[in-house]
């Protein structure tokens, strides 16, 4: 049996798409297998036909990413392992002792941990408090700006409760104060519209394996036109297949920040995923996910003893829903959903302790249902029935 999107059903209900989307669209695995069987060579290292073909696939993926995010220059797409890689490159490559950076209380540890490390080395960090539903007042960001502020870094959508933060408003504030602006789009890229120019973004960190529907080990950062390559110190240095006669790192993008052989097989999969995404339409995918999300929210709110976190307005959130059953630990809920119902989700702190403090769910965390393109109404019905049965036990 296949779902409406042509993916084989497993009998399981997969609601962990905020960690990694699954299943992948038809064509992704095939593109990776084709790359390994028929191309296989190192992109950009040799001049022979297979190397050129491999390089072409990597380049096509750069173009597809640039196109998706309104970036004019595909050579400013820097590939790495994931969004964490992109965030680390920017934070460690831009900030120096004495610089000040503004961020929010809803950030993932992908931002918080590098900032903590930089703070130990003389970078000043201001964390703007978000509201209990995870939302952010942009005026508070403006108030946090100091004379030595260099960068604002903001989560686009919460990995805990789906709250969308106002990146365009904050981007305009950053631009007005001539500050650099880094957006962590790990949870939004692919489903929530993002435009590098209109949203005033200088660095857009993205990952391939969530709502872009590609494989793990693909992602990185898109760099805006205002950033001079010399202003960004690379995290890694090494072979790039270019300027091999020199023992200094190239000064141009993308090579400046892309040393070592890339995950070309992963990028072949990501390219197929991006082509699928374009065929489906981001708007249609979001409409599908948010319709399911509205059903899920309504159903959860009708179960006595269930607390839902984040905004209820589907225009202000993604399809990632955080909740708790009062009187039952999230870890128990997760285990029982898996073992007794075949419902797969993520529980606990979701690598975002600060976000959980903001929502009032630290240190226990919450249960997270994260809807993806391949979920169905039936999935949501099963999930609601299971939560309802568990909630009855503790009443």
């Amino acid at each position: 049996m296949t779902s409406s999107l042509g993916v084989v059903e497993t009998g399981l209900v997969y609601l962990d798409n905020a960690a990694t989307s699954w299943p992948k669209p038809p064509g992704v695995a095939a593109a990776m297998q084709y790359f390994l069987d028929e191309i296989g060579a190192n992109p950009g290292r040799s001049g022979h036909r297979l190397s050129v073909e491999s390089g072409r696939i990597v380049y096509e993926t750069r173009e597809a990413i640039a196109c998706l995010f309104g970036a004019s220059d595909p050579l400013r797409v820097i590939f790495g392992m994931n969004a964490t890689d992109g965030i680390n490159l920017v934070l460690h490559g831009i900030l120096k002792p004495g610089d000040h950076v503004v961020t929010s209380s809803m950030e993932h540890n992908a931002v918080m941990r590098p900032l903590h490390d930089l703070e130990m080395r003389g970078v000043e960090v201001s964390q703007v408090a978000c509201n209990p539903d995870g939302s952010l007042d942009p005026a508070l960001v403006r108030k946090a700006i100091c004379t030595n502020t260099k960068l604002i870094v903001l989560n686009h959508a919460s990995n805990v409760c789906g709250t969308i933060l106002p990146i365009r408003e904050v981007g305009q504030i950053a631009r007005h104060h001539d500050l650099l602006f880094l957006v962590d789009a790990a949870q939004s890229a692919g489903t929530v519209p993002i435009h590098m120019v209109m949203d005033c973004i200088d660095f857009l960190a993205f990952t391939g394996h969530k709502s872009l529907y590609g494989p793990m080990g693909t992602g990185g950062v898109v760099i805006g036109e205002r950033v001079d390559p010399s202003a960004l110190h690379p995290l890694r240095q090494g072979g790039t297949g270019s300027r091999s006669e020199h023992e200094v790192q190239p000064e141009f993008f993308p090579d400046r920040c892309e040393s070592g052989t890339p995950n070309a097989v992963g990028l072949a999969g990501l390219l197929a995923a991006l082509q699928w995404l374009q065929r489906q339409g981001s708007v249609q995918l979001r409409t599908h996910e948010m319709a399911l999300c509205a059903d899920l929210l309504e159903g959860l709110l009708n179960i006595r003893g269930v607390i839902v976190y984040g905004p209820l307005d589907t225009n202000k959130r993604t399809a990632t829903v955080g909740f708790n059953i009062q009187g039952m630990e999230p870890s128990i809920v997760g285990l029982r959903l898996d073992e007794e119902y075949g419902i797969l989700c993520r529980v606990g702190l979701h690598c975002a302790p600060s976000a959980h403090r903001t929502l009032g769910t630290f240190p226990d965390g919450c249960v997270r249902f994260a809807i993806g393109a391949f979920n169905t109404e039936r999935d949501i019905e099963k999930a609601l029935k299971a939560v309802s049965e568990l909630a009855k036990e503790v009443r």
Partner: protein, 74 residues
């Protein structure tokens, strides 16, 4: 002995790919080839074009703000 070809030397394979797409989309024949050793000790690729297309190639590259290192006759 001179040939009918010239090569566009670029900073990286990504730059070469960008030029290849640009030229191909305008119907200009080109091929990515290893950089001739006498032109550079770079281990990457460059874009080989026909000499007769050079003026059109130059104007396209300028119009699209693609950074190149040089164009060399073979």
């Amino acid at each position: 002995m001179s040939s009918d070809f010239a090569v566009i030397l670029v900073d990286s394979t990504s730059h070469a790919m960008r030029i290849e797409k640009l030229l191909t989309s305008r119907g200009i024949t080109c091929k990515l080839v290893p950089v001739p050793r006498h032109l550079s000790s770079d281990c990457g690729v460059c874009v080989r074009v026909q000499k007769r297309d050079i003026e059109e190639v130059k104007s396209l590259i300028d119009a699209h703000h693609v950074v190149i290192r040089s164009i060399e006759a073979l």
